[in-house]
């Protein structure tokens, strides 16, 4: 059985964790193209290297970051997201003027 070290709770059975995707810089969500946004949300490089990934410890509802080697599957390091993300990101959008529906 694989064990992962949760930064909040300590070593736990891997079945308690849920994968949350790669950690990548987020493009400007208002001005980026659809392709750029799709690449951010859906696409991964899938090369042999050490990746930073989001992981979720389900019993405590806690998101953290793990560094994992994609070939050996070894988890090298886990840490709280506050080590990378220092500021809150808001997703406020400017309201678009309502368009009239032409029937």
């Amino acid at each position: 059985m694989k064990i992962m070290n949760c930064p909040l709770n300590g070593p736990r059975n891997i079945s308690e964790f849920v994968y949350g995707g790669e950690v990548k810089p987020m493009p400007d969500m208002v001005n980026c193209s659809d392709k750029e946004w799709a690449e951010y949300v859906f696409y991964y490089d899938n090369t042999i290297r050490i990746v930073q990934e989001w992981w979720f410890h389900s019993p405590s509802g806690y998101w953290f970051i793990a560094e994992r080697h994609t070939a050996s599957d070894e988890i090298l390091k886990t840490y709280d997201p506050s080590e990378i993300f220092k500021e809150r990101v808001d997703f406020e959008m400017k309201a678009k003027p309502a368009q009239e529906v032409v029937s």
Partner: protein, 196 residues
């Protein structure tokens, strides 16, 4: 309605558990259903200071608990998440007042743990041995000290286990999703049966 008090209508709460007897199981392990006892949770960067302002001492680090003189168990589940649990069904007014006091406080958000979770108190000498059968985390006396909390999987369902002394007796509070609480009650009953 801009603020609904989650602790209201305590007399209307009904347990969904079919437990037979409120106490179990044998001479070595007993289990008590505390699901209907009042509790409230808060999350946010302002919660620790809010609770201190209300005269409640809080643990300094996550996964620790303290119990107040009045018998309210204070769980610190992360840096910013706290649950307060009535341990003897006498602190409903206190918890209700606390919930109301949180209204409008910056960076304090209520959590719905009253209705989302079941709560059991498991006591008895062989309780750590029983948990070893259903839980991967070592809860033995020497490793899992009093006031510790383990957030982990118990009998395949997510659960919070908090070890604390209540009325001079050591016990383990088990909180888990209300939808799986009947299963968890049955699983703990089954695991306890051999320790007679």
């Amino acid at each position: 309605m801009d603020f609904y008090n989650l602790s209201s209508a305590v007399e209307l709460r009904r347990s969904q558990l079919a437990v037979g007897s409120p106490e179990l199981i044998n001479s070595k392990i007993s289990m008590h259903d505390h699901t209907l006892f009042s509790r409230v949770g808060f999350r946010g960067r302002g919660v620790a200071s809010f609770l201190r302002e209300q005269g409640i001492s809080v643990p300094n680090v996550p996964n620790q608990s303290v119990v107040t003189a009045a018998g309210v168990l204070v769980l610190r589940l992360s840096n910013t998440e706290f649950w307060l649990i009535d341990t003897d069904k006498s602190q409903h007014e206190f918890i209700e007042a606390l919930e109301l006091a949180s209204k409008g406080v910056t960076n304090v958000y209520r959590l719905y743990c009253q209705h989302s979770h079941g709560c059991f108190l498991v006591k008895g000498k062989n309780t750590p041995n029983m948990f070893a059968k259903v839980c991967g985390v070592d809860l033995s006396e020497k490793v899992f000290e009093c006031s510790s909390i383990a957030q982990t999987s118990v009998a395949r369902v997510n659960a919070i286990i908090a070890k604390q002394v209540i009325l001079d007796e050591e016990g383990y509070f088990v909180l888990s999703d209300i939808a799986g609480s009947q299963h968890l009650w049955n699983a703990i009953s089954d695991a306890s049966a051999e320790f007679n």
